[in-house]
Amino acid sequence: MSEINLTTAVSDESFSRRVIRDTIRRRGAQFGLCWVVIVAVSGIFAPFLANSHPYWMVVAGEVSSPLIAHLEWADVALLVTFGAAVVVWLLRDCLSGFRAIGIISVVGVIASGISLLTVSPPEAVVFDQYRVGLANGDIESAVFAPVAFSPTDRSRDAPVPLSAPGALHWMGTDADGADVMSRMIHASRIALAIGLVATGIAFVIGVLYGGVMGFFAGWVEILMMRFLEIFESIPQLFLVITVVAFFGRNIYLIMVVIGVTSWPGYARFLRAEFLKLRKQDFVQAAEACGLPLWSILFRHMLPNGVAPLLVAASFGIASAILTEAVLSFLGLGLVDEPSWAAMLNQAVGPGGTFAVWLATYPGLAIFLTVFAYNLIGEALRDAIDPHLEQRPNP
């Protein structure tokens, strides 16, 4: 099972670096990371990959770029954040992991705020104008994205609902006549965002709650534990369905609700870790130095107890994506926005019809994404602690 390494050479490699190296070495994690990168890239560059607006076109000798003009604030914010992530990656040697994540999130929030205020694409959009214009010669020339259909482009000029994959629509069309491939590409955004944001919320609440719970034993812990048990016993899906049904179908609300209902696991993990850590010398030393509480908890104890939480977070992303998929499948997901599960729901039509392409592609996408995060989680778990795998009920 495990080979015991008898050489006792001291390595100056940090724990997190070793874990990352060890994780990436595993084949499962490599596959998982590859797929997550594919989903991330198609999510970030979605408007450039699948769009009815041409990159540029020539009308009466004038060159314009409808694609740029129609970018939404979220598109711009995502691109800026991606740029920041690339810069941080290039500077990875002089930045710590936490600081890098911090910089990326701050840039993301600022970019979202600014672009929300400044970017205002035209509201009325006629998708067929380009096709019609090209056909009757109004538009002299145009260069389109690889998939020349927007996710909400229902081809009003030539409706083709539920057509099988072909030369025009590579993955067929859905029940409304929208291009499945385009919707697939744009939906990867929602999958990515739901997973990261919901798990991020759960992670932060869980860390704060579990940290406090593990540090202060006694009646504080007992009270907090009771409250945690309430949250643990709520069937998450029921609560999410109730909230969405009562408050309306809103992506941010769904993210928050999934996040707010899935923190107890993280809190439990961290509590167990902190109960062990608080007796250790370095914590006693930090206390003796008179460091403030937040510093002891989150600068000294957290980095030593965060590892099992990362494993849980990886599985948490998978389950958040699944929850969103179930919501969309039940018809409680987003309105009009592309979603993998909503397309899957259209595969079996009334009257026993079955659109194979609507079942395979979106279903495969959900499966691969969930599988990828589960594989990363498994690899991370094995890398962090080979013994963790053997614990009967973590």
Partner: protein, 357 residues
């Protein structure tokens, strides 16, 4: 032990209170509240009609009372101890009474009736799938432990992780599409739990004058094949892995070495000595898969149009049917908590080393 059980049951009360309060609060602070959809569902009304409707709803469900009062009213209604009223609305005083889950807003029927129709269906589906999950994953777990590191172990491990990642919604759609649609194999029914003519059939298959008919039992089983598959396959990964690690641990234990030392064959060691000791951890997780199965039944029931608890709760939430949502939340949480307790008791009963005193 009795002390422990009583303490656990008493601890359930605040938990249940908290859960119902949370769900109640969510519904109460939603824009429009619970009354909005009731009013809008009755279509366009003239102002005086609207006022009359509002007054009727307020009088019937107490919707004009302050929110804490409404919650206390509901609590009193569902609790077995409280202020009872007889059929004429006359106060009977404080004491034991029959818990009442209230009336469904949308369907205008007692919630107890709705639940009594739906709960057996959901429980039936779950009780059918649990034995499958356990038997198959125990067998897989034991064999992967026995052949650890070999092709069988790696293969089953990866296959289970993959199966675990297959979303139930996808599996359900594929099963219906390929095995139950007109365009491919039409082997199974797409929806429901019984054929239209089933109520005219006998219980067992029989052949009469007008030919062979499959009977009620066989018909129901035929309808349940696909839903049970959907509920079953996701459970394997976790339990198999658990059995595997537990068997591995026990295979290296001292008593297993003693058995080998006295000359027992490897299969005797595995099946007579190690196997029974390895099943203990499975008890603890039997509880944790129950909530998962209940959630799974929301999805499976929606895909296969089965009128169980899952479908009931989705419909009720969409219709803002407060009483139904609250009751189902209460019942599901109660089931979950009770199953946690039962498992802890079983655990102590099965393993003399475990004690809660």
């Amino acid at each position: 032990m009795v002390n422990y059980i009583i303490r656990r049951i008493l601890l359930m009360l605040p938990t249940l209170l908290g859960i119902t309060l949370l769900v109640f609060a969510i519904m109460a602070i939603a824009p429009g509240g619970v009354g909005a959809s009731l009013l809008s569902s009755s279509g366009d009304l003239r102002p005086e009609e609207r006022a009359a409707m509002e007054a009727y709803l307020n009088q019937r469900y107490g919707l004009d009372q302050p929110l804490p009062m409404q919650y206390l009213r509901w609590l009193n209604q569902v609790s077995p101890i409280g202020f009872a009223k007889d059929e004429n609305g006359v106060e009977q005083g404080f004491g034991l009474k029959v818990p009442n889950l209230g009336m469904s807003f949308a369907k205008n029927r007692p919630v107890t009736q709705l639940v009594a129709e739906a709960l057996p269906i959901t429980l039936l589906l779950n009780f059918l799938s649990v034995p499958f999950i356990f038997v198959l994953s125990i067998v897989m777990g034991v064999y992967t432990a026995r052949f650890r590191g070999q092709a069988l172990d790696v293969g089953i491990g990866t296959a289970n992780l993959a199966l675990w990642s297959v979303p139930v919604i996808w599996a359900g759609v594929l099963l219906i599409g390929f095995l139950a649609s007109d365009e491919y194999l039409n082997w199974f029914p797409t929806s429901g739990l019984e054929s239209l003519q089933a109520d005219r059939w006998t219980f067992l298959p029989s052949a009469s004058g007008d030919g062979w008919q499959r009977g009620y039992l066989l018909d129901a089983m035929w309808h349940m094949v696909l839903p049970v598959i959907c509920l079953t396959y996701t459970g394997f990964a976790f339990l198999t892995k658990l059995t595997r690690s537990s068997v591995l641990e026990n295979l290296q234990a001292d008593y297993a070495r003693t058995a080998r030392a006295k000359g027992a064959s490897e299969s005797t060691v595995l099946w007579h000595h190690v196997f029974r000791n390895s099943l203990l951890p499975l008890f603890t997780v039997a509880a944790s898969i129950l909530p998962g199965l209940l959630v799974g039944s929301v999805i499976v029931e929606s895909i296969f149009s089965i009128d169980g608890m899952g479908r009931l709760v989705v419909q009720a939430a969409k219709l803002r049917d407060r009483e139904v949502v609250l009751s189902i939340t209460l019942i599901t949480s109660l089931l979950t908590l009770v199953s946690y307790l039962l498992v802890d008791i079983c655990y102590a009963a099965a393993d003399p080393r475990v004690s809660y005193e």
